[in-house]
């Protein structure tokens, strides 16, 4: 079973502060993803990566940066957090391919005050 670990599980940040959400996967998957989940919107793709050193914009990248320093780690960075970024964030990993199973972490609940 694929293992994807997110940290922290909960985070409270102040408006204008910097927030880093971390994700680690132990299954040597090439692809990793960051989604946010909000009521009424489902899961929306923020950034994704094909492998170490690569990041690609998803459907809602504004206000977010991503970093993939290694095969195992994928971070989501909010340089200047805003209350509208209050959400639950999910990281996922998957094998290379056009039709792939995604394995999700347990999520990070972020509150920006």
């Amino acid at each position: 079973e694929a293992a994807v670990t997110q940290s922290p599980r909960n985070k409270v940040a102040v408006t204008g502060g910097k927030v880093t959400l971390s994700c680690n996967q132990t299954n040597n998957h090439n692809n990793m993803y960051w989604y946010r989940q909000d009521t009424g919107h489902g899961l929306r793709l923020i950034h994704y990566s094909y492998g170490a050193g690569s990041t690609e914009k998803g459907d809602i990248p504004d206000g977010y940066k991503a970093s993939r320093p290694s095969q195992e780690n994928f971070s989501l960075i909010l340089e200047l957090a805003t209350p509208s970024q209050t959400s639950v964030y999910f990281c996922a990993s998957g094998e290379m391919g056009g039709a792939e199973t995604l394995y999700f972490g347990s999520g990070t609940r972020l509150t920006v005050l």
Partner: protein
């Protein structure tokens, strides 16, 4: 606009009944996936059905795919209280992005 979208926001059934969740999508796909998300957890895949397949089963679950109408369905038979969850359809694109619908909240009542 959503590339994939479930057709119902919420459904309720009683234990033992069958239920079907429908999904429509807007782009050509190589596969469509169904995920289930229980409260407080990340989504977990139930079924992946490829574009050259019409039906796929996994225990009490049955997924269909109609590429001509760009639609899919997920049927659950003999529902149980533990089937209460949010069900998502998701499609891949040629760019390897996986896009999710907004989800259908299924409540299975005792």
């Amino acid at each position: 606009s959503q590339l994939a979208e479930e057709n119902s926001w919420a459904l309720s059934v009683h234990e033992g009944e069958s239920v079907t969740v429908n999904c429509s999508y807007k782009t050509s796909i190589t596969a469509l996936q169904w995920y289930r998300q229980k409260s407080g957890k990340g989504p977990a895949q139930l079924i992946l059905i490829r574009s050259n397949e019409r039906e796929k089963r996994n225990g009490r679950l049955r997924a269909t795919l109609d590429t001509s109408s760009q639609s899919s369905s997920l049927s659950i038979t003999a529902t149980r209280c533990e089937d209460t969850a949010v069900y998502f359809c998701a499609t891949d694109t040629n760019a390897y992005k996986v896009i999710f619908g907004k989800g259908t909240h299924l409540h299975v009542l005792p």
